[in-house]
Symmetry: C2
Amino acid sequence: MADRPAIQLIDEEKEFHQSALQYFQQCIGNRDVGLDYHVISVFGSQSSGKSTLLNVLFNTNFDTMDAQVKRQQTTKGIWLAHTKQVNTTIEIDNDRPDIFVLDVEGSDGSERGEDQDFERKAALFAIAVSEVLIVNMWEQQIGLYQGNNMALLKTVFEVNLSLFGKNDNDHKVLLLFVIRDHVGVTPLSSLSDSVTRELEKIWTELSKPAGCEGSSLYDYFDLKFVGLAHKLLQEDKFTQDVKKLGDSFVMKGTENYYFKPQYHHRLPLDGWTMYAENCWDQIERNKDLDLPTQQILVARFKTEEISNEALEEFISKYDESIAPLKGNLGSLTSQLVKLKEECLTKYDEQASRYARNVYMEKREALNTKLNSHISGTINEFLESLMEKLWDDLKLEVSSRDKATTSFVESVAAGKSKIEKEFNESMETFKKLGLLISNEEITCKFSDDIEERIKQLRDAELKAKIGRIKKNLVPELKDHVIHLLSHPSKKVWDDIMNDFESTIKDNISAYQVEKDKYDFKIGLSESENAKIYKNIRILAWRTLDTTVHDYLKIDTIVSILRDRFEDVFRYDAEGSPRLWKTEEEIDGAFRVAKEHALEVFEVLSLAVTSDNVEIIPDVPMAEEESGEDNEIYRDNEGVFHSRRFAHILTELQKENVLDQFRRQINITVLDSKRSIITTRTHIPPWIYVLLAVLGWNEFVAVIRNPLFVTLTLILGATFFVIHKFGLWGPVVNVVQSAVGETRTAIKDKLRQFVVEDHEVKESFEMKDFSKNEQKEK
Amino acid sequence: MADRPAIQLIDEEKEFHQSALQYFQQCIGNRDVGLDYHVISVFGSQSSGKSTLLNVLFNTNFDTMDAQVKRQQTTKGIWLAHTKQVNTTIEIDNDRPDIFVLDVEGSDGSERGEDQDFERKAALFAIAVSEVLIVNMWEQQIGLYQGNNMALLKTVFEVNLSLFGKNDNDHKVLLLFVIRDHVGVTPLSSLSDSVTRELEKIWTELSKPAGCEGSSLYDYFDLKFVGLAHKLLQEDKFTQDVKKLGDSFVMKGTENYYFKPQYHHRLPLDGWTMYAENCWDQIERNKDLDLPTQQILVARFKTEEISNEALEEFISKYDESIAPLKGNLGSLTSQLVKLKEECLTKYDEQASRYARNVYMEKREALNTKLNSHISGTINEFLESLMEKLWDDLKLEVSSRDKATTSFVESVAAGKSKIEKEFNESMETFKKLGLLISNEEITCKFSDDIEERIKQLRDAELKAKIGRIKKNLVPELKDHVIHLLSHPSKKVWDDIMNDFESTIKDNISAYQVEKDKYDFKIGLSESENAKIYKNIRILAWRTLDTTVHDYLKIDTIVSILRDRFEDVFRYDAEGSPRLWKTEEEIDGAFRVAKEHALEVFEVLSLAVTSDNVEIIPDVPMAEEESGEDNEIYRDNEGVFHSRRFAHILTELQKENVLDQFRRQINITVLDSKRSIITTRTHIPPWIYVLLAVLGWNEFVAVIRNPLFVTLTLILGATFFVIHKFGLWGPVVNVVQSAVGETRTAIKDKLRQFVVEDHEVKESFEMKDFSKNEQKEK
Ligand SMILES: Nc1nc2c(ncn2[C@@H]2O[C@H](COP(=O)(O)OP(=O)(O)O)[C@@H](O)[C@H]2O)c(=O)[nH]1
Ligand SMILES: Nc1nc2c(ncn2[C@@H]2O[C@H](COP(=O)(O)OP(=O)(O)O)[C@@H](O)[C@H]2O)c(=O)[nH]1
Ligand SMILES: [Mg+2]
Ligand SMILES: [Mg+2]
């Protein structure tokens, strides 16, 4: 009888029971088994008599099906039994080895249905840990594919190769095919040929891992075939067949002995236990055995196919039916919903029969694709709507009553209207399930409308600034040129006052506070401040250009000359002057020159009346990279300062003064010439009068020889002095004499000599002062 | 015995044989069968004794397996036989109906292996066309899932529902389960319960189409169970069981009669033939039955899983191992190849065991993903390389010897070098299989390098134009202002000549032909022409601004005045004039005024010496939309013409002439005043001399009372006339008297009177001419 009841090595939850080691120890007691043990397992369809066979053959006590009740699964998991008693034809009472028998749960049970996971792992485990694997099959199963577990064996062979194919222990397994209910009509040789051929075919078709490509079935397995008679209808023969089978498990040395050394794992028993547990772990972790059921695999394949077809039909219908409706929200949405519903319905009709989770997963994916496709049209519609609403807004803003409605108000109203209509359209799409996420669209729309409003605002601002510029620039130019062409000492104070007031006047409509402006565009305080600053920059640039273009050397000389002549030619009341004496001319010259040069300094350096250099309060220069903006060189090689206040260089100042002096000297010369011609011109009738009045005196002189002699002597002396240019010494002598005796000479002589002397001194003094000024 | 041999209705290639109609006619001859016929088919695993049963039961002659040879498939396709002879327990020799029997190819044959396509279609067809479907199964198959064709039945039930579920003919099928080799240990009731429960479970799990959700198994099928004893080991009982089965096919009216009216299709025989053919077409076309084999489905699932894992591992390793190598082509490529090979090897090891085409397909997809991921790094590398090479090119271009190497040459050399290194790098990647298509990268690279060269070219061009501008603008300004400040009648000819020559001088380095320039940047002829045109536009704008800013009213008045004074104040030799008479002044005045006004016309309208208006040869104005560029309104409301040649308006011309006249009149007045003072001034010593010389005459007059009396009378008369302003009439009288007696008066008197008269006339004439000119 059996030693002990069988234990469950691996339960239905695929847990390895470590009590096996304890069981082994109970079975073998204190005996040293060493390597003298064997492991046998069984594999086959459910209720194919596996347990019955093992019990009859090895006197084990595995549960078997009670056929009188019904056909159903009995063995669950993998059970382990120990035996030393094998049913044989003759009783051999010698030292029998310990045999450990694994009864494996039957494959293809209707209880597990499509879930083949445990079957594969159990079969794999049986092959891995056994020396002999009994493959149990009904005679009638031979020739079937699924029914004879050939598909299962193929998978098991493949995984076995990848997991254990390269093992170094040259472990081989005996596959013992036991053919049940073999009635004998078909010879066993024919059946074994069929099975062998099938196995070899499977092996050829296997996907073998690297290094096992050339391997053969027989590198890993030996095949044996045994037939057993019908247990119920041929009971005696069945018993006899089983005993004959039993002989091959105990008859060492004989040809048919099954436990050949090459099948043994060569592990001590406790080593085998660890090995078995390790095998189960590896098998459990192997993902190649983690396959979805046939149902799920088919469902994935079919739902994918159906989904693609439905989408294809949707797309083919889409364009032609949507094209004419692109502008109409109502008909567009209804058509979109219709097309989408049709597509999903078509999918549902065909795909709903497949596994629900797979069907729903693919439906979600299809829904996403449909929405993605639809979103293109929705985006187009929303963009068209946006364009239309935007045109409305632009028209409304441009045609508003500018007196009663501000730009900001009309833009805000238009924006509000756009947002309302846009959101309504989007809600329509969303309510109908055509739009999933509207955050992205809303965000893009908001960015778009902000961008467009910014453009509109920029255009309005540009127009306003353009108008300001169009007035400000010429006005500034005119005012500055007018002030500079008639300058005073405080011309720059005037220019600055006018500069500020001109700016103020041109943007007075936008002033909110002192130095705070709102350009009525809806900009922030800082943006308005920046625009104000830009306007000031423009104004300063205009001032700079105007000043530096106007105040050239020629212009400044002209200004100085005008100023000089105003004072020199006209008296305080504005009447033209008539010169009587040179002293008048010299005095007027000095005053006029001083009056002109008063403004020369302000025309060459822009300073206020407090002698403070004028510096722009905003940056004017465009930053030219790598260039010093303080100094630049013109095309004549002259270096200039770019500072606003610096109008003339020292060299240019010299140039101006030279030209000015030259011109006013000419004026003075003209004036002095007018005196000379006034002074020495004696009308012709005077000579007549003198002749008439002096006739009697003249006659008296002629009659008197003394007078004649004196006249001749004086004439001759006069002639000689003049001829030989001796007036200088004569003048000196006369002057000396005059200096000594002038107090006694009459007013006439003194007056005559002094007047001539003043003219000469004036000329010399002018030359001398000119040299003196140059030296300074 | 059997009437005729069976025919093949549907062959192994799934072709429907239309000879069936002919066969029917042969079987029934000229008899009118009407609806008195029945159709039976059989379904079950291969070699399960289906054909044997049909032959025994209906005396047909279907081929059966010869068990003594080997177990293998015999029936291929679907065969049709006709019988009227049913094997029954008692011989009933009455009018038997015609029975058409379909022998269907067995399912799960190892010959077809995993290909279940025909099995499904055959089973579906059998259900569709039969009244009774015999489901043949071994007793031992009960409890198995695949082994008992339950999976197959499930698929068939599903497709049957979708294809024929909504048929209006209320067609029902009797499923007659014949359990073979029923040894009787398990009661038939138990077996039928097991099968029924299994079928009901399958039906519940079915995915039913719309409209069939609430349907029951029994809406479409009736179930019957029959057990047959072991044919070989219980031969007599088997025969008896078959006869009992046969009774149920012929015993009308009995409870167990199988051919109930609700199973009949109610079609005449030829109608049934068309129906059968139509059914087969529908079944053939149904895609739900077109499933890949389990092998392929598993392969798809597993290779996807393996591929994703391999890719995941590749990506996790990728970043940290690539990051330090991004700059080195050699080590980068070797590491990329290594990582890619590792990934593909890992995939190959696990996935190569699965169906080859699926494995290769997924491998290609994985390869594409790997390359896509790698291409990111390659793009980064190539972009970095591009940046580095580009910096080299920029350095080389900027530091070239500008005397010996042109911009175009150095750019071309640099570009060639970049392309060479870039292509070498790309070839390296391509040769190692890391890059599939390099057209896109090459195209993007070419676009990039063209864009960068364009930027470099633009910068170089901008620099060149900047230098041209920096010289051209001030030079033009100076020249124009110089010419305009000292204008001649042909000033505009001079300005135009100088304008063209200044432009020419500044771009002479780039001239190729007359009016053709190459700016040595590598631009096309049209691009060079455009740049030349832009330079001319700039020059014209400068000319326009300079002219219109300079030629203001004040400046033109100043120019005219200078020109007047040059002629009026200085004689032909350049000496200052000293006026002797008013006639001289008037003559000089006329000449000088005419000389000044010569240039007034050219200063207000820019025309050449041929009196042709100067029009710019390039468009200067920036097009301000919606604005007429011919006329603009300044800030004083005055309308201006924007045409270049129009310098002064009519109003401004009047203004200039007024100011000019006022100024030159002052000058003339000064000059005339200088004459007056010259004419009438008598030095004081003359009076002394006159007194001295005329003392004796004076005394003589005093002593003579007549002279005294005359003197008093003349003095009194003189006083009265002066007091009452009667010089006019006195002058008239004197003139009249002189006119009558002047021939007798001495030169002195005539000279005195005439000179005084000329001065007065000069004054009156000036006023009169002034009024006259104003009226003109
Ligand atoms: N026809 C037949 N039935 C058998 C044979 N061996 C066992 N059975 C019966 O088949 C049923 C199932 O046997 P069992 O050993 O539990 O099958 P297991 O599920 O493969 O272990 C039991 O009712 C046995 O009596 C046999 O060789 N031939
Ligand atoms: N054990 C057994 N064998 C049978 C039975 N009926 C037929 N066979 C044998 O099974 C083999 C196959 O029979 P066949 O009718 O060709 O099977 P089919 O492929 O289903 O048509 C033949 O050798 C028959 O002799 C039966 O009821 N029991
Ligand atoms: Mg069992
Ligand atoms: Mg057959």
